[in-house]
Amino acid sequence: MSSRGRLALFLLGAAGVAVLFATAFLGMPAFGSEDHPYRDLAVPAAVRHATANVVSSVNFDQRGIDTFGEETIVLGSVIGVAALLRPAQRESEQRPPPDRHRLESTTLLGYVLLPVTLVVGLDVVAHGHVSPGGGFQGGVILATGFHLLYLAGSYQALARLRPVEIFDRGEALGAGLFGVLGAAGLAATGAFLANVIPTGSFGQLFSGGTVPVLNVLVGLEVSCGAVVLLTHFFTEAITLSVGGRRERGGGT
């Protein structure tokens, strides 16, 4: 199709979809209304299981299997990226020499920020059931923290700090234990991912039953997974492929 034809087809379709959306939006309850039936069930349910952060309760307790699926998606994407970015057979790789010139202040900033982000990340993971945050958010912060080293200095320092196999294993461990805890619930009460740990008292560090445990597992998985993902992309960015692309007629 010519690019004009494509655009015409799209505009036709988009106009129709815009009409559909407008029709639907006009029929929805007013923005900011008080009508939230699921919320009215979810909040008391979270309180019953002594989980102060209701979003965490929904994520890890009430609709835990969604999150199990989500963590499996993270695992799948990390495996997928690793498989897609594996060095091809006819591609020999070159690493650039390690002399990267950085400003002193950037280096210093990186090294100073590293411990700070790690502490913040761990805190966000640990308190995910009582305050905003949780395993996912904390995990991402932790993974970003590691990559401040890139900002701070050389790729080599980063490479030393993250042997990919260990992070791979950490990620698989997090995702696997999530499933194991779910199966434990199945064995104990007959329901997958049942909240089998005593729920404790509302708002405390030890409350919410399985919620903080799952938060830690997700934190482990997401931080390791994100580090592995970024490592693959970093490696791509600094690697040259030699004779990588297959010659094709017509290609440029």
Partner: protein, 90 residues
């Protein structure tokens, strides 16, 4: 609807459009990051701190970083190829 919500929604709409209209991939990584930040602001305003926190990490930092790295890889290959052609021509 408070003015704050109106404004942050408008900001999100404008920056989202800007990301799509940025044709140059390098610049797009930057606009994407700004768009991620505007979403973070919107989520804070809409009383979703959990969502805002992960949007901050993912949308404003990790994803733009990956985009930048992917583009850098492609650029390097292209430059190398251009060099190779230059050498071959000599």
């Amino acid at each position: 609807m408070t003015p704050l919500i109106v404004m942050s929604l408008a900001l999100v709409a404008v920056l989202g459009t800007a990301v799509v209209l940025t044709n140059e991939p390098e610049r797009q990584a930057v606009t994407l990051s700004l768009f991620g930040l505007s979403l973070t602001v919107l989520f804070v305003v809409l009383q979703g701190p959990d969502v805002a926190l992960s949007q901050l990490g993912v949308g404003a930092a990790v994803v733009p970083l990956m985009v930048m790295l992917a583009i850098r890889r492609m650029r390097r290959d292209q430059e190398r190829e251009a060099d190779g052609r230059g050498e071959a021509g000599e």
